[in-house]
Amino acid sequence: MMDGWMDQQTKLAVHLWEFPLMQIKDMSVGMDMDVSGVSRTHVSIRPSAEVKATLKPEAERPRCSSTPCSPIRGTVAGYQILHMDSNYLVGFSTGEELLKLAHKWPERPSEKYPSPAAVSTSVQSTVPRSVDLGVHRSSRIFKAKSRYYQPYDVPAANGRKRRRSMPSSRDTFFRTLTQGKVGKRAQLKCLDYLNLDKLNIKESSDTEVLQHQLQHLNLRGEHGVSKKKS
């Protein structure tokens, strides 16, 4: 059962994060707009030949070994990502996207990993607002995938090398990654600001189970406790 679940998670991970790197070069878009902001002229975003090349499967495109996996997506919940330099930015999400992810995650067989549907069912309960349990779970998978990520120097235009991440922090970082403890509590808060109780969510057949699981979550309290004043 766990293997089946993992396969499903992996598939979702692939769907979300394994798109080929897409770098659409700056494009000048001149358009006529009416007062409502609606475009009057057809604007076609024509990828250059270089962009088309980047849309090929990753195996065909040489990648630097230090370049992390780049979960570049073309669209994110109504937004269109025109450019994302994976040297600096590997992901962008909106609240709407995160909610969708939370709703998509299948029910977990174990109480340790409550289903993201629990997030939706917290709408009608009095339990504290759950957060992105689905993202938390996906983060576990993605941490494993990025285990071998190596920060690298980013040369400046004037040839001056920029400071590399401190080896000590990198080592600690990877050690923590392996232990799966990086930002666990913090990630649980990502949907705290969304009014989940106002969502019109289709009832799950396992509402009672999920609500019971949610009752054990006290994310706001966890966040306050886990903070370490520097």
């Binding site: 269109q80 990502i81 962008f92 995160l98 983060s139 993605f142 009014n195």
Partner: protein
């Protein structure tokens, strides 16, 4: 995005129609000329006139010294501000930590300010780091089930981002059919509820039914290795509140959180 803003002045120009070619009302043209001389607006602005349906560029000098030291600003709590009928820039400048909830509802955006494009670039190399656009929402489109879903974004940066010194953020936005006076944004970044930096940008006056583009320069201070390490190790514990004011009244409140681990 990290801390600190010192909009250090960056002018760019696009080759665009002149006001006369665009058929701009002379009165409007006059107001454009007046704006050109002001130093209050950061970056440069492209303005689409309602009459010409074309683009005009105005050079706006970037505001200097927008670094907010919060000196002399009384400390405020979120709970206190919630009791206020109106929340002012000085109110949010007194906040010492990230707010738990939004300080205004989406409906308070009575000026129909809508961000349609956003771009950030490294000022040292000119490298565009990220660019995103949002197509206009069709009339009668399905309303989001969560009113706050559109007010929250998440960035997943790599540790290399923390090495940048200056980042330019270009934002394009449309406004409704009323003129906007003194449009201002205060953005406060926190790591674990510790204020890292407060940014204060003024967009100035915006014409009704216009599309505007402005670039703000974020100048990042040098962070200690310890802080950077902690920020990398604890994704999404770096958070920001973006407060938008018109005539010194809060009309919008957006939130974001950040990871610097290079992963989700």
């Amino acid at each position: 995005k990290r801390q600190e803003c010192s909009s250090s002045g960056n002018r760019t120009q696009d080759s665009l129609l002149s006001a006369s070619e665009a058929g701009v009302d002379p009165a409007l043209q006059s107001s454009f000329s007046k704006r050109r001389g002001k130093k209050t607006n950061p970056g440069f602005c492209q303005i689409v006139t309602p009459t010409a349906n074309s683009l005009l560029t105005l050079d706006m000098k970037v505001q200097h010294g927008c670094n907010s030291s919060d000196m002399g600003i009384p400390v405020r709590t979120e709970e206190e501000l919630r009791r206020n009928t109106v929340i002012t820039p000085e109110d949010v400048l007194g906040l010492q930590k990230i707010t738990k909830n939004y300080l205004c509802s989406p409906e308070e955006n009575v000026h129909m300010i809508d961000f349609t494009r956003f771009k950030i670039r490294d000022m040292e190399t000119g490298t565009v780091l990220f660019e995103i656009t949002k197509p206009p929402t069709p009339a009668g489109s399905k309303k989001q089930c969560d009113p706050n879903a559109g007010r929250f974004v998440r960035y997943q940066f790599t540790p290399a981002f923390l090495q940048l010194r200056q980042v330019g953020a270009t934002v394009e936005f449309t406004v409704g059919d009323t003129p906007i006076n003194n449009f201002r944004m205060i953005e406060r970044h926190y790591f674990r509820d510790q204020l890292l930096k407060s940014f204060d940008f003024e967009f100035g006056f915006c014409m009704p039914s216009s599309k505007n583009t402005c670039e703000h320069i974020y100048e990042f201070p040098a962070l200690s290795e310890d802080i950077m390490r902690e920020m990398i190790l604890h994704p999404y514990e770096t958070q920001s509140d973006s407060f938008y004011f018109v005539d010194n009244k809060l009309v919008m409140h957006n939130k974001a959180d950040y990871s610097y681990s290079g992963g989700p």
